[in-house]
């Protein structure tokens, strides 16, 4: 009972990166506990996925040929049956939108504890999981004194596993009770909002909660214009309807890698950071010197954006609208 079972994630024909990060985290954990790492892939072109997933560190890959896309009712049943077969101590799943759509149900069905959004896992008994609280202001250690548990891992916290693997690939016949499948995925839809693609921009002027009011958006619009840059934003701005969805940077928006990313009044929540940390140069304008965005920034101004942005607009020959 020292083995680790991870279940890969795929969508619309492609494995998601977190699948390979699960291998890295799972291998670490299996080594610490002296067990094997089993990886399963459920649905889609499982044979092609298995070939791709056969990277260094995986001991066994189970291919489960059930459906095309993720369906939580199927995944919960398959996970339960895989666990009966493999008897792992830890079920490792992605802390993704789909991971959180079935991991808690699996834990509840098995009657085992779940710890989500892990950023570190130490293999000693009892298992210690590191996770954040209070909007990334603090980290906590969560100890789980149980023989079996479910852990979901935050994406990009572990490097993706690479290298040629030598896993034993097996087909696993799951017995899915269709009467327990009470949801149907009917399609996918891309977020709309016009034809601006923020992922194409060299310079992004990105605005967050610190802008306070809708009528202040004009200030960053003016800055973007003065710099000949493109305007983007963090999630709350889009949630409020102040900018369209296609301007949103982050996990549920776009991933951007501009030459310069100017974060204005953005604290740097983890979901936002996931979408912009690959930028070449990051500039943060924020009154709070402890805001998480400063951990990523190459340059920072710890001052009121309502003072700095007008001055910056004037630097480039513009006139502040406020």
């Amino acid at each position: 009972m020292t083995d680790v079972l991870a279940i890969a994630e795929h969508r619309r024909g492609s494995l998601r990166d977190v699948s390979f990060e699960l291998v890295t985290a799972g291998r670490e954990l299996a080594d610490a506990r002296g067990g094997d790492l089993h990886l399963a892939v459920v649905g889609g072109d499982v044979d092609a996925f298995a070939e791709e997933l056969n990277v260094e560190g995986v001991d066994t890959i189970y291919t489960v040929d059930e459906g095309e896309e993720f369906n939580h009712d199927v995944y919960v049943q398959v996970a339960q049956q895989l666990i009966e077969e493999v008897e792992p101590s830890t079920l490792l799943l992605p802390n993704s939108v789909n991971g959180l759509d079935y991991a808690p149900a699996v834990a509840e069905r098995l009657g085992v504890p779940i710890v989500t959004d892990a950023i570190g896992v130490a293999g000693d008994d009892p298992l210690e999981v590191t996770r954040e609280m209070y909007g990334s202001k603090v980290e906590t250690t969560i100890e789980v004194d149980a023989p079996e548990l479910v852990v979901t891992i935050r994406s990009t916290e572990w490097d993706g596993a690479e290298g040629e693997g030598s896993a034993d690939v097996q087909s696993f016949e799951a017995d899915v009770d269709e009467s327990q499948v009470r949801s149907t995925v009917t399609g996918f839809e891309e977020a709309g909002g016009g034809d601006v693609d923020i992922a194409d921009a060299d310079v992004l002027v990105s605005v967050g909660r610190g802008i306070d009011e809708e009528e202040n958006i004009v200030l960053v619009e003016k800055l973007a214009e003065a710099l000949d840059a493109t305007l983007s934003s963090s999630r709350p701005i889009v949630d409020n309807g102040w900018l369209p969805k296609n301007r949103q940077v982050g996990q549920s928006g776009k991933v951007v890698t501009p030459k310069v990313y100017i974060a204005i009044g953005i604290s740097g929540a983890v979901q936002h950071v996931a979408g912009m940390k690959g930028s070449e140069t990051i500039v943060a304008i924020n009154t709070d010197p402890n805001a998480p965005i400063n951990d990523l920034a190459d340059y920072a101004i710890h001052d009121d954006l309502f003072d700095v942005v007008p001055a910056l607009i004037e630097e480039f020959g513009g006139e502040s609208p406020l």
Partner: protein, 264 residues
């Protein structure tokens, strides 16, 4: 139809704070209605306004202080509220996902709602697991991270958009009764009106103990415990521009010109 909305009073830490033992010192915490739950309340209330004979009940697990938050939900249009609390809950070190699901499941059994709305996650500990765990416990169907909802009450189907990563929605039909975890941005939460706030004072807010639902302290037993809290070492190696706004703006302008990404 009855909709049960779970709400949580969450703590937010001030910019400067101190840690006392396993949590942030109470003096540096401010309490508010969880942001996601605000959207869940709005979704339920707007369904009630559009439909006939829809009752919206909110439930929270929390101390007396949380009544302020609960009254806010009542002021926004929730019909009636339940707050679960007792000495066992007050002294519990940690309410883990399973315990929350079991307590809420007991409330669901008593209330018998057609739909349960929860927030996707709570601002403070961000486990993001209670809604789906609850669904499994009570045998409801579910959908996590819902950012659009079309309800076919007679057909017993909730057609939802689930907000996946990367600007893609998954379209899913879910059989009801169901638990839906509600994402921010699904609607525009209203502000409580003065009239609403006055009315909220007269709406029922029942305080229940675990025993009222046939539960006891064993429901709180968990192998999960928090053993440390600390401020992570800062990884910041940013060059900080100093001076007044004109000076810092000037330095930033020079940087942008040096990078060759701007003209002028």
């Amino acid at each position: 139809m009855k909709i049960l909305v779970t709400v949580k009073e969450v703590a937010e830490a001030e910019d400067d704070f101190e840690i006392d033992g396993l949590d942030i010192d109470e003096r540096y915490l401010e309490y508010d209605l969880n942001e996601w739950d605000d959207y869940a309340v709005e979704e339920a209330v707007s369904i009630a306004e559009e439909g006939d004979d829809v009752e919206v009940v909110s439930v929270t697990v929390g101390p007396e202080r949380a009544e302020e938050t609960v009254r806010m939900a009542l002021a926004k249009g929730v019909d009636r509220a339940i707050r679960v609390w007792d000495d066992d809950l007050a002294t519990a070190e940690m309410l883990d996902v399973g315990a929350k699901a079991d307590i809420l499941a007991a409330v669901v059994e008593e209330e018998d709602p057609d739909l349960v709305f929860t927030g996707v996650q709570a601002n403070d500990d961000a486990f993001g697991a209670t809604g789906v765990a609850l669904a499994e416990t009570i045998g409801f169907e579910w959908a996590a991270v819902v950012n659009r909802l079309d309800l076919d009450v007679e057909g017993g189907v909730a057609s939802v958009h689930r907000e996946l990563e990367g600007g893609v929605d998954e379209l899913t039909d879910v059989e009801t009764p169901a638990v839906l975890t509600i994402q921010t941005g699904i609607n525009e939460p209203r502000y409580a009106s003065l009239r609403g706030i006055r009315q909220a004072q007269r709406k029922p807010l029942d305080v229940k103990e675990l025993g009222d639902y046939g539960l006891d302290s064993s429901v709180l037993e968990t192998p999960v415990s928090r053993t440390a809290m600390y401020v992570p070492e800062t990884e910041s190696d940013a060059t900080v521009f100093e001076g007044d706004a004109e000076e810092t703006a000037g330095q930033l302008a020079d940087l942008l010109r040096d990078k060759g990404v701007v003209e002028g």
